[in-house]
Symmetry: C2
Subunit: 277 residues, 2 copies
């Protein structure tokens, strides 16, 4: 289950799922989503009291909320009286994924990049301060789907994330920075806005980003940003592999095909989805 060259560790960072600090004004739904987030982000099923401690809400309220989430299939309530993520989420997600236009457009280009490099290719989009991985092309062994696809990872320590930030308008970056919780995954992880911003400047100049074992030790990658003209949509494509096989020199060479792949995807998006957005 482990072993495979893969830069996407579980997103255990607090800021991973976007805006944790800023509470949205979505009324009842917002409160329920916080709960759903809490349970799905835990690494084991939670008992009522565990959730009570984490959510600091009155018992009665929490009880009803969890009951509603369970009744809707968003959470499961197991025989041991613990709450776990529900399977209805899978049904929703499969439709979201199957119909995603960006992914459909990118798929053949990802396959071509994989053939060219022989290493794992990823496609991701920026959502809040997280990168959500939309697709993955791997050589050997059937993909353990869902193991990575759909995962939200922080933007400040992934190739795709930093590439995405490099095309994000400055005001949007400013908005985003205070919400980031820099989590030192490895010794190379950015832990300050200053060092991150400095690198983003370089990335904007060269058009490609490296992950120098910043998220997971022994894993490197090279990525290029993908964006719509008005920057309302931002993502990226990357080639990832183990450091022993991918020297920084090799990654530097691959920057060209990765950027070309990004360009081809952008060109096709303009044709298929119209130029404005």
């Amino acid at each position: 289950m482990s072993s495979s060259g893969d830069s996407m560790a579980q997103a255990d960072d607090k800021g991973a799922s976007g805006d944790t600090s800023v509470s949205r004004d979505t009324g009842t739904l917002g409160k329920l989503m916080v709960l759903l987030d809490l349970v799905t982000h835990a690494d084991a099923p939670l008992r009522f009291t565990d959730i009570l401690a984490l959510a600091n809400q009155p018992r009665g309220t929490l009880h009803r909320q969890l009951g509603h989430l369970v009744e809707e299939g968003l959470l499961e309530f197991d025989a041991e009286g613990r709450y776990a993520p529900g399977l209805r989420l899978l049904d929703f997600a499969s439709r979201s994924w199957a119909r995603n236009e960006f992914r459909l457009i990118a798929a053949p280009h990802l396959a071509a990049l994989h053939r060219e490099t022989g290493e794992t290719v990823h496609l991701g989009v920026l959502r809040g301060s997280s990168i959500i991985y939309l697709d993955k092309v791997e050589g050997h062994q059937p993909v353990r789907m869902y193991s990575q696809i759909g995962n939200a990872s922080p933007c400040y320590c992934t190739g795709v994330g930093k590439a995405a930030l490099s095309v994000l308008p400055l005001d949007k970056i400013e908005e985003l920075l205070p919400g980031l919780h820099f989590n030192r995954f490895t010794s190379a992880t950015h832990v300050s806005a200053e060092s991150l911003l400095a690198e983003i400047g370089e990335i904007a100049a060269t058009g490609h980003a490296f992950d120098r074992e910043e998220h997971e030790a022994g894993i490197r990658c090279v990525a290029a940003p993908i964006w719509s003209d008005d920057r309302s949509f931002i993502g990226g494509v990357s080639v990832t592999g183990p450091a022993y096989r991918l020297s920084m020199e090799l990654l530097q060479e691959w920057a060209v095909p990765v950027q070309m792949t990004a360009r081809k995807i952008m060109d096709e998006m303009r044709i298929r989805l119209g130029p404005r957005r």
Copy 2:
């Protein structure tokens, strides 16, 4: 994207996502989930007015509800002013899938069954009147994950679904039947409760179910049920392939290894999750 031997057509049946008729008492959440269902089950992004017609709710109400869903990332609002499933659903789902204990226990057994038969192996669970596919082991080509995993298909026309029904207590079947909308996918699809119940009786006797091109023309499968002692959990495992390669005689032979696989998974569940449930 098509071609591969695969019995899981998109679940375009009205009853596919469970209890459409029975409105749950989940307050505000329930109303929002109906909307989310509506948008994710459509086969293209919907405009405000489209949803207005489908949801029959007052304009103001609908507008706010959609706004909340978008703000939470459960829906996306594109540049053309249309609503589509949101990517946050993927993040939720990836955690639901990665942590699902049933899937984790079954995985090695599915792989073994695949090696033995050389055909596609599926794992599914019963949720309401739908089968949600949890895993898939395929020979060639990396899995297009999410293309099938997570899909909800009707129980009355899939091997896993009928196998699951064969171990469902009679009172639960009675509850479920009136909510079924029999959709004739092929000439072999069950279109009445009577014929379905008759077959379920046979399946209960033999311990395995066949899909004789009932969901998709040219696709056959053999399946066996998987259940917890108290029947609170019900699912199934199947081997699926194209009819030209899988004669009914061959499927009959495979019934044995499929049932053995189901048994092994159940045995391990009893050990790992305790015998009661």
